[in-house]
Every structure is written in C-alpha cells, then in structure tokens.
Symmetry: C2
C-alpha cells in the first residue's frame, strides 16, 4: 500500500524549528474583543450598523472559514449592530458551518434565488438594526470591494432609502491593522513552514528541471510540511534576473546562470505569509551577487527602521535610499512592502504617500526590488511584526549570500 507521509520526521534541511502548530480557531474572547473595538468606533461615528459582504470581514467577526467563497453564485452578508453580536444573513447552504461559530442570530434564505437573493432578508435586518434613517457603514475605500451584484445593491438602496451609507473602511482598517498574539502566531507558523520548505528546496530541484515542475514540487513540499493551502505561488527564472514577479510558471528549464525566484502566499488556518527567496542556478555573476547584496542591505535597513512611531513613508525612504546608493536602480512594484494577515496583502503600503504610523502588532512585508539591466529585476521579501522594541522577523532571514542550486 502506497501512502503519502502526513507527518514528516524532523527535517534534515530545516536547520530549524519544527515547532508544534498553534491551535486552530480563536477563543470567543477574541471575537468579543474585535466586536467591542468595532462598536466603540461605530459609536464614536454614530454608525448604527456595519454591512459586510466580503470573506475576510465576515470571517473576522465570526470565524466563518470555508473555501465555498470560490463560488461566485451566492452573496453572503453580515450586519454588525451597534450593540449585541453580529447577525449573519446567509444562504441556507452555509447554515451548519455558521452555526458552529460563536454567532447566535443566523438568518438564511434558499439561494440561489436570482429574483431576490437575500435582498429582502437583508433589508429587514438593516431596518431592524439601524431604523429607517440610521447611518450604516459599508467598506467603500481602498483595497475593498462590494461582493454582491450591483443591481441588487441598487435594489437594497432603494428599499432603505432613508438610511445614510458611510464609508466603513477606516473602522475595518483600524481593527485589522493591529494583529492579536493569536493571529501573529498563525502567521508565524506559516512563515516557519515556508522557511523550512525554502531551506529544503535546493535538495528537491536541479538544473534542467522545468519551471512548471519546480513550482509543483515546491507547492507539494509546502503542503507536506503543514500549509493548508498555497493560494499564491508566483515567480520567475531568467539569466541574471527575471522579467516580472506575478507570472505562473513557464515551460522553460532551469539553466546555468539563471536566477530563480519563488514568492508564496501560503495559508495556515486562514492566515497568510507572503515572502520570496532567490536562488542562482549553477553559478551567479558578480552583477547578480551585487544586486542580491544591495537587496539584503536594503532589507537590513528596513528591519532597523521598522520601529513603532515611524511612518510607512519613513520606512519606504530608508529602504529606497539603500537601493539607490550605488550604481543600481531601485524598483518598487509600486511599493516596498505592505500589510498581510487574513489576506495576501492588506493595508498599509510602504509608499512615499502612506503616512500610516507603525504600531506594535502590525504585520508587514519588507519587499525591496532592483532593476537589473533594461528588462530584468530581483526582489527580496521578509515578513515582520512590529514590537515595542522594533521589528521581529517572522520569516527566517534569507541567507546573506545568494544560495546556489546545482553548483
């Protein structure tokens, strides 16, 4: 009988932790705390209810965790009242899973029902909580969207025309920016597993392997080591650098002189890591080594600068200075890092314009990039949590020298 190994023995390559995984889920007290913080902010702004339609937001207040969100067919709603527990307004198919959360008030309808896919039920619920003329908060700002048909939203607006809709992005953002220790432990566990898998990778692949096979091997390795899922694995290979950093794998073999980069957002219990590692295939040129070194130093500068009280713009400036100090030219993919947690990327952004002040409990990436010649680049990425004393690495720091595969 052929069997897959579920539980790996201590890994010879990990050099590392093999810490036990943290428990799944959260104590009810964590949801109560989230709700209390939300309701305090709602109260300050005279908001009677929050209306939520997206996976991370509904999960944040309930613990509702399912891959069923992959199906775009049915809308899911949550109403967070200014007092009392959140109310789930959801398709019947989710009732059993939602009933296993800490919520009490679960209202369902038999979806899909295109003529009225929960809109009447949601209307009644909103009017009950907010009254005919209350103020309702809905995320409308950067990095949010409305996950329901726009025509249904218009119907809802017409049926609740006395209700004033205001942007709830600042409330949701303020809550989710600061992670609890339980949340941090999940992200740290994911970073640990991926750090181990990156350490093992040189033993699993070799020059000549197709890029597609390398991606597949790495994805399997992540699952074997305890990732629940690998929703995000991108990367690139190319002589001395890669052309872009969001591609699926190509039908191209790893060749001597290539740089291989893999960047993964893997998930443990609904929480992401998001970091990459670079490898040289066979050998690395001086240009490649120098680029790696510059990126390493930019990250070190970022690690020192990521102190409570500094702004995201400060952190950007510090890293950018390091990237531009030599003959090289920095590249930013639009920013030099970002938040992460329940999603692969979250607020804030490390850009010149983002004045978000770093606070203990924020989890962010440091992601400096360099242009190499006209059409190649190299990117480094680490994940950190901001502590009172500064940055704490959640990832195992990338090697100080570019690792070589098949030397």
């Amino acid at each position: 009988m052929e069997r897959q190994p579920h539980d790996l023995p201590k890994d010879p390559y990990s050099g590392g932790s093999n810490r036990p995984l943290p428990p799944r889920g959260f104590p009810v007290s964590e949801y109560e705390h989230r709700l209390n913080r939300a309701q305090r902010l709602m109260n300050e702004q005279g908001i009677a209810a929050l209306l939520l339609t997206t996976e991370p937001e509904i999960r944040y207040f309930s613990g509702f965790l399912t891959q069923f969100w992959q199906s775009p067919t049915r809308p899911w709603f949550m109403v967070v009242p200014f007092w009392g527990k959140p109310i789930a307004v959801i398709p019947e198919i989710g009732a059993a899973v939602m009933a296993a959360t800490w919520l009490d008030d679960i209202r369902t309808w038999p979806s899909p029902e295109p003529e009225d896919d929960g809109i009447s039920l949601l209307t009644w619920t909103l009017l009950e909580v907010a009254g005919r003329t209350g103020r309702v908060g809905l995320p409308m700002g950067p990095e949010t969207h409305l996950r329901m048909p726009l025509a249904d939203f218009e119907t809802l607006r017409a049926k609740t025309s006395g209700i004033e809709l205001v942007d709830a992005t600042p409330i949701i953002r303020a809550l989710r920016l600061i992670k609890s220790e339980t949340e941090i432990a999940k992200i740290a566990a994911m970073c640990d597993i991926v750090s181990d898998a990156f350490a093992a990778l040189p033993h699993l692949i070799a020059p000549g392997d197709m890029e597609e096979a390398v991606f597949r091997t790495f994805k399997i390795e992540l699952l074997r080591r305890g990732a629940d899922d690998v929703p995000y694995l991108v990367g690139g290979t190319g002589p001395g650098g890669y052309e872009d950093i969001i591609s699926p794998p190509a039908s191209r073999p790893l060749q001597a002189g290539d740089v291989l980069m893999l960047d993964t957002g893997s998930v443990f219990d609904g929480y992401y890591c998001d970091f990459d590692r670079n490898f040289a295939i066979g050998h690395a040129t001086d240009v490649t080594r120098r680029a790696y070194d510059t990126l390493y130093r930019a990250t070190e500068a970022g690690l020192r600068a990521a102190q409570p009280g500094a702004t995201c713009a400060d952190l950007f400036a510090t890293m950018w200075r390091e990237l531009s100090s030599g003959s090289e030219s920095g590249t930013s993919t639009g920013r030099l890092g970002h938040g992460l947690g329940m999603q692969l990327t979250e607020w804030p952004s490390l850009t010149p314009a983002d004045q978000t002040v770093l606070q203990p409990g924020m989890v962010i990436t440091l992601e400096p990039g360099l242009n190499i010649g006209p059409d190649r680049m190299m990117v480094h990425e680490e994940n950190i949590v901001i502590r009172d004393s500064g940055a704490e690495l959640l990832t195992r720091r990338a090697p100080i020298e570019l690792p070589i595969i098949g030397a």
Copy 2:
C-alpha cells in the same frame, strides 16, 4: 538527494487514461471569436463599450492569467470597445504579463495610488471609446460583482455622468455559457486527473487517518497528477453521512461506519472541474447503500434528460422526481447542479425557476443530494458537456456501488 516525482509512471490504480494534457493557452483566433461574438451583441444593444473589473472576464477577453488577483490592493480594468481589440487599463506591475497576451493597447498607472487608483486613466479611456453620452455595459446581475472600491466607482460615475450604464450580464453570460472545444478539453483534462486521483484514494488512506490528513493527502495527489492548483477542496465525514458539504477538514479520525465525501474544484490552465466522490469506511449500512443507490439513479436520470432543448428546470424536475420516489427526501443545497468552467460555479443553475435552455457546448454539473435522517446528507456530483446527442460525461462515472475503504 530526495526528489519529488514530477512525472508519474502509468498509474496502477487509474484504470484509465493518462492522456497527454492539452496545450496551455488559446490560439489568438479563439480570442478573436470571443470578441466578435461580444461586439455583435453589443452592437445589437447599442453598447459602445464593456467595462470589466473581475478576473474571469478580463481573462476571457485577454488570456491574462495570474494568481496576483489574490491581492485585493489594486483594481484591474478592461474596456472592450464596440470595434477593435480590448484595452487593458491596469497597474504597472501587470504590464509585462499583459504584454504577453494578444492585446496591443495596455495603459498602466503606478498602483497602489489610493488618491487616484486608475480612475482618471479609466475615465479618459471610457470617454475616448464611448464618448460623453455613450452607453457602457457593466456586469450588474446575478453571480457578478464590481471589483473596485465603491467610492472609486462613484468618482468614475461622476466623471462620466453623461454615460448611461447598462447591465452587461446577459452578454457575458451568453458568451461564457457555451464553451469552445479548447475550453472543454481543459475541463476534461482536469476531470480526468481528478478521476484518477479519486480512483487511487482508497490506496492512500486508511481507517484511523485524521480528516485533515486525508484532505492533505488528496490535495498532494491531485498536484502530483497534474492539477495546477486545488483552490477548492471541501467535504465531510460522519456515521452514515455528513452534516454539511462546505466545511474544511476536521480534527477527527475516519471511523468504521463513516461516509467520507471529498468535493474538489481543481484547476488546469485556469479551468475548473467540480465534482465529488463518496467512500464508506470499513463497512456501509443498508440505509447508506440505499441512499447511494438513489443518488446514482438520480444522476442516471439526469444524464438521460440532459439533452439540447431541455431547460434547467426540466433537468431539475427529472432528478428531483427520482430523489423523491422512495421513502427518502431529496435535498438540493439550493440547486441540483450548475455551470462551471473559468470559475468553480457559473450560470446556469438547475433549479425549478431557471428556464435556461440546454445547448451544445454547455458544461454543467449534476449534483443530486439526499437527506439521511434529521442531520446527515449525501451528495453525488458529475460533470458533463451537452452535445448534439445528449450528455457526455467529463468525469469518469462514480462506481455503481459505494466503494469501501479498509474493508
């Protein structure tokens, strides 16, 4: 050196095909055909441009395939003009990948830029294509949503106030309902791989295994056999049936008398399968066997009834009759099947209300369910394509008798 097997030898358990995988991507002629069909419908309705914001729609017209959509930070836009190729209005970070598609007109801005995240660029593009008072189609109907911040959409509306927005769901739906042979081949390849993996599963797991480990083993098996990704794997176990069908795995061992169900939406080259299989652990009671048999017969009835010209409501009625013919009670999770393709679930739905007429080229699931006692259920699922001559199975038909693991 430990290495993962990338290419499996002929599988002793598959009993099956091991057909070579179809080539990735599409010929340009396929995109031209999609565009021509869209522009014909736009012309009929006096629509000057389509505005698209969601992954499947943008990929449908361009071939743009990346997991970068996992990041909610940046909006992505496509404008399909009434004449000429689609125009991509996208963050700079996607320029290289988009440039590798058949599109010529790629307009980028340095995102994230919360103050103006592509809205000015999109405004100019819309006004250029549709004029100040043209009619623009935007998907607003069932199973669609708008993937951009609502506040940015309001800004766009204000800047293009002369433009009339109309619902483009009927156009997008009409196009995507009918799959090309190239699309069908990708779905069929995915169904083949998953059929093989389901056939192998009894050799990979055993009574006593934790549900979490079973999920992990199956996911790894799917990747080993050629799935690009497994974005959806849900299921359940329980004595004689399971409580719900959208759960992540539990920390519970497989026990004699359990029914195990696994349901996966796995992906090859951006195309999904969506089907499940049931297994008894150790032994099955007569009640369990009878339920399995009823579901098997309901699916057979569905396979016979899935003829061009029949409606989705007809197909629902045929299967429902079979489910209700004995002492058992059918359950529908809201419907008895649905479309699939670029997404795990797509239009249409097998419900009493859905009058969609089945046509050759439609790919759908048949998904009958039964209640077993007060709080258990069993669900079967197959994937088919409608042909001139009737239903063609894309999945390898489930065994006529419930397979037993660890008998």
